[in-house]
């Protein structure tokens, strides 16, 4: 899963100025840390849902993503 996030999902997210890193996987609960543009995206939940679909399609595993936003100080108002 960690490799999949790093090699398949991350480049696409980076292509839009975002950043995602694998944090943990416990059973079906996948925790991902979002930085860059993702950290303040108003509709990140849509992307998260898309990632869940992609993971199921590519890895055959149903997960629920816990999205942790790591917002830089200058956006953390």
């Amino acid at each position: 899963m960690e490799e999949y996030i790093a090699s398949v999902i991350r480049p696409k997210i980076q292509g839009d100025g975002g950043e995602v890193c694998f944090a943990s996987l416990c059973d079906d609960d996948l925790t991902l840390v979002f930085q860059g543009e993702c950290s303040k995206c108003l509709i990140l939940d849509r992307c998260v849902h898309w990632m869940e679909q992609e993971i199921e399609k590519d890895l055959g595993k149903r997960v629920t993503i816990n999205a942790v936003r790591k917002k830089p100080f200058f956006w953390d108002a």
Partner: protein
């Protein structure tokens, strides 16, 4: 007594007007027919015209569906029969989207939609009585809207979007006309920049106009009366007089890479050009300027039918190529030859395709401009320079001119325009008024320039902006306006204007000072390849003179790749992760191509046109030294100018006889040095000059918290020293290598998660003290500097600009001096008294700060926006400390720095002409392959005459012949271009 604030809770008249304005906009479309047959196929762009598709086939796309994926491109198609009640009517496509979509109908490019526009006129591009419409759309989604200043686009940012439907529509032009009237007038009514009484008049009369419309009825009875009221009561009123004279120039700023990759700019450019062409079809008076030859090249290559239309509009005078350069490059970091090639390849393209030499340089967004630029522009056919940043972004001082003359380092002068306001505006009255009020040359400069059009990722002008423009003459409150071309504006207001003020110096931007340092690897590769290209061209030219083929196309390809990556959001480091990867891949490709051109000779070639006498590292697998992780040996080449010869390790003396260590003290033939465990120098006593050079922290590695805010990659703040971060020494300085020529001392410090090893080299035959840095960098928001507090009393630092030097004050008496706490330099900088000083020579660093007797060389940053991974990982770079006698010129710093930066390679070529006194900056075959072009630069600030054995052609930088002579006088910092017959 308690104060009770009175708050109005009932609706204000202005709110009532705004509410009805919203109702009116709902009636823009007379009829709408939803296109329900659309299908979509998701993909991801992998090169300029290649896509990796996520599915084998298309899927249906219906209103309410989710569409687009992160970094996604979507292809949408669909066919409809034109409904009977639409036949014979003016047809439009209505599609509201956050993406950038290029639309073809029945095989014809009809336009584009994006967050700044949501409809396309179809009828003029359809066959008469066309019954079926086949739509083909290509959309690129953006999480980062082109223009954050447009609030509407902010609300729709994000990678996954909800499809809001696409419609065939007809427009109610009466409603649309009134909408534009209201939009325009409400902008004035809401702006403090206009007369208060006039704004009250507008608020009152707009309310009266809207009172004439019955919004309860779908047909909006009274609409015509309202329109007439606006014409007769509001536009006819001329009781309120404005003043000013503003030229309106349409353009679109297109970052070739930024929050998107270079591959995406191909379609961004297509969409932008297409939209402007379609506006020109509708509005024959509309003129639009477009920069960057590179973008024209991609359009011609991939979309020839649109390019053919563009050529027609250029011929008609509506579409105006501006900006003589290949791209809009950073103008601090590129070498002089790179800036010349930007002009050469840009102008060459414009001449070849459009028969034009573009007379202006159009750089609205670059982060300051080197003092060497006026000469390069002037000799590249450019009379006018346009750049906005200094007026709107300076953080300390107001740049004092808008229309003026810019005098360059060599005395060349160009006309310059720094428009008073931002280069992205949407042509509203308040923005035009703001421009006029900010204009500082009202009495001397003629008109002021106001650029309009959305930008950053292209997009450009909208129908609304043009419709506004058609109404400005009816508004007595506004400044006089003229929609014109860039060339016409510049010629009318600047050319031969005797009243223009003069600015003699660099155009330093008091912001974005971090861009001299961010993304160190890109800057390192750029520097390396600039010199490698020089080497390859000289070698290839000398081979061509002996009859061998000249790799013109490969060299041009290498140059163009380098030039593209000098774009002002690539080389400065202000971009996302994939842009960095693209640049590094390009550099690798160029490096490989140049290796093939240079090839392998049997002897070493000195490509410098002066004898190479400085201690040099020569890679050799049998050597007894290491540098940059490679084995080799140190030697004094003693190779004459432009000659080749053998190089071998020199065996004179033994290591023990020239370098002595005693505790923390090391003694060499030149110095007695006392080191601290972290590699900093506590004392640097010069034995030959009998003086101490250190006065405080010297070669001290320092780390600071570097939190400039939202412009993270761009800025370093003046208070960056407020919060130092102290490293710990994990491996104290110790001797690691010692032979006949060099003694190497190494130490490692830890800071945060990072490790920083320094290899300090002391030499038997060189005054230089080299510091190689090997860094494993994993910090966030840290600035690393090497600081040198020198035992030197001077008020100015001397900095190399690549083709001459600039003197910068080191004290902080005025706000202008205070603002320049971090500046850009090239290969060297120097703090010196009249009889000696300390120079720092680098091989890839550009940012440096001066404070009285202290130099601080910026080494690495760790920013997180736009790229959270910026600068993470391994870095290796060198600089050399060079105490010297005399000043920078008598110490020959230019020559020493060139020897330090130009690697010595094997090639069996040589040249008899050495062009003494000037630096051989380039030698190449002319672009037509008929002439040897020799570029010579005076770098030391002196005057002289070049004596040649026979007459040569004098060329400008576009390789046009401008004269002929064997005796060529030159002045300080002049760049000469000579043409020598190939035969």
């Amino acid at each position: 007594m308690a104060h009770i604030k009175v708050t109005r809770r009932s609706m204000r008249p202005e709110e009532w007007t705004a509410l009805r304005f919203g109702w009116l906009k709902r009636h823009i479309y007379a009829k709408k027919y939803e296109i329900k047959t659309l299908q979509i196929r998701d993909a991801r762009q992998v090169s300029e015209m290649e896509y990796a598709y996520y599915t084998e086939d298309y899927r249906p796309l219906r209103k309410g569906d989710m569409y687009f994926t992160p970094d996604g491109t979507a292809f949408i198609r669909g066919e409809i029969a034109v409904p009977a009640d639409f036949c014979g009517e003016e047809l439009w496509l209505s599609l509201k989207t956050a993406a950038e979509i290029i639309v073809k109908v029945n095989g014809k490019y009809v336009g584009g939609v994006d967050p700044n526009r949501d409809r396309i006129l179809l009828s003029p591009y359809l066959e008469p009585n066309c019954e079926t419409l086949y739509f083909e759309m290509q959309g690129y989604n953006r999480s980062k809207p082109d223009d954050e200043r447009n609030p509407e686009s902010l609300s729709v940012r994000g990678c996954r979007q909800i499809f809001e439907g696409a419609y065939l529509a007809t427009v109610n032009h009466d409603v649309l006309d009134l909408v534009y009237d209201l939009e325009l007038l409400l902008d004035i009514a809401g702006s403090d920049l206009f007369n208060e009484d006039y704004r009250a008049f507008l608020n009152r009369e707009l309310n009266n106009a809207l009172n004439l419309i019955d919004f309860e009825e779908d047909t909006l009875p009274g609409l015509t009366d309202a329109k007439r009221y606006v014409e007769e009561v509001i536009y006819k009123n001329d009781d309120y007089k404005g003043n000013g004279d503003v030229a309106l120039i349409a353009h679109s700023h297109l970052d070739i890479a930024y929050y998107w990759r270079r591959i995406h700019a191909v379609q961004k450019n297509l969409r932008t050009v297409l939209i402007q062409l379609r506006l020109m079809d509708r509005y024959p008076d509309f003129k639009y300027t477009h920069t960057q030859a590179y973008t024209y090249e991609t359009l011609e290559k991939y979309y020839p039918e649109v390019f053919a239309e563009l050529k027609e509009k250029i011929a008609a005078g509506q579409f105006e190529p501006v900006g003589a350069m290949y791209v809009e490059p950073d103008c601090n970091i590129p070498a002089a030859e790179s800036l010349i090639r930007q002009c050469l390849y840009g102008q060459r393209y414009f001449r070849e395709k459009f028969g034009k030499t573009v007379q202006n340089c159009w750089l609205p967004d670059v982060f300051g401009n080197s003092w060497i630029l006026p000469q390069i522009l002037k000799k590249s056919g450019v009379e006018y320079f346009v750049s906005n940043k200094m007026s709107t972004w300076n953080d300390t001082n107001r740049f004092p001119h808008n229309n003026f003359i810019w005098k360059g380092i060599d005395g060349s002068e160009v006309y310059a325009c720094v428009p008073p306001t931002h280069f992205i505006t949407w042509n509203t009255p308040s923005q035009i008024q703001e421009n006029w009020e900010a204009y500082q040359d009202k009495n001397t400069g003629g008109q002021t320039m106001s650029m309009f059009g959305y930008g950053d990722g292209g997009s450009g002008c909208t129908e609304e902006m043009i419709e506004f423009m058609h109404r400005f003459d009816k508004l007595s409150i506004m400044p006089k306006t003229e929609h014109t071309s860039a060339a016409a504006f510049l010629e009318k207001n600047l050319k031969d204007n005797p009243n223009l003020q003069k600015w003699d110096g660099e155009l330093y931007l008091e912001m974005h000072r971090g861009t001299f340092t961010t993304k160190a690897n890109i800057k390192q590769q750029n520097r390396k390849l600039e010199y490698k290209l020089r080497e390859a061209e000289i070698i290839a030219t000398l081979r061509a003179l002996s009859g061998k083929p000249y790799p013109q196309e490969t060299l041009r390809e290498c140059w163009k790749k380098l030039l593209i990556n000098q774009f002002h959001d690539i080389l400065p480091g202000s971009h996302i992760t994939p842009v960095y990867r693209d640049a590094m891949a390009d550099y690798e490709a160029v490096d490989k191509m140049l290796d093939e051109i240079i090839g392998n000779g049997t002897q070493y070639f000195n490509s410098l046109n002066f004898p190479r006498t400085g201690l040099t590292f020569v890679e050799n697998e049998n050597g007894d030294s290491t540098r940059y992780g490679k084995t080799g040996f140190w030697c004094i080449p003693n190779l004459p100018a432009l000659q080749n010869g053998e190089l071998k390790p020199q065996n004179s003396g033994t290591a023990g006889e020239w370098c002595f260590t005693d505790g923390d003290t090391v003694e060499t033939p030149y110095y007695k040095i006392r080191f601290a465990p972290d590699g900093s120098i506590l004392s640097l006593y010069d034995k030959t000059l009998s003086r101490e050079w250190a006065n405080g922290d010297f070669n001290k590695l320092k780390f600071y918290e570097d939190k400039p805010g939202v412009y993270d990659a761009w800025d370093i703040l003046p208070n960056y020293k407020d919060k130092p971060v102290l490293p710990t020494v994990s491996d104290p300085l110790h001797l690691t290598e010692k032979n006949n020529e060099v003694a190497v001392f190494a130490c490692t410090v830890k800071v945060g998660q990072s490790s920083w090893t320094r290899y300090i080299r002391l030499f038997r035959q060189s005054r230089g003290i080299e510091v190689e840095n090997s860094v494993d960098w994993h910090e966030k928001h840290r600035l690393a500097k090497a600081e040198f507090s020198c035992n030197v009393l001077t008020r100015e630092a001397v900095c190399d600009l690549g083709a001459g030097f600039i003197k910068r004050e080191t004290h902080k008496n005025t706000t202008w001096q205070q603002a320049r706490f971090e500046v850009c330099h090239h290969k060297w900088c120097d703090l010196a008294e009249t009889d000696g000083g300390v120079a720092l020579i680098n091989d890839c660093k550009y940012g440096v700060g001066f404070d009285e007797n202290t130099m601080s060389l910026s080494l690495l940053r760790a920013t997180i926006r736009p790229d959270p991974t910026s600068d993470m990982g391994e870095h290796r770079f060198c600089y050399m400390i060079l105490p010297h006698a005399g000043d920078a010129v008598s110490a020959k710093l230019n020559q020493i720095a060139l020897e330090y930066n130009v690697p010595i390679v094997k090639a069996d070529v040589s040249c008899q002409n050495t062009f003494d006194g000037l630096f051989l900056q380039a030698m190449k075959l002319s672009e037509d392959g008929k002439t040897v072009v020799v570029r010579l630069t005076e770098c030391d600030g002196h005057r002289g005459t070049l004596h040649l054995p026979k007459k040569v052609k004098l060329l400008n930088m576009l390789e046009d012949v401008v004269g002929e002579s064997a005796e060529i006088p030159y002045q300080p910092f002049e760049i000469l271009t000579l043409g020598i017959d190939l035969n």
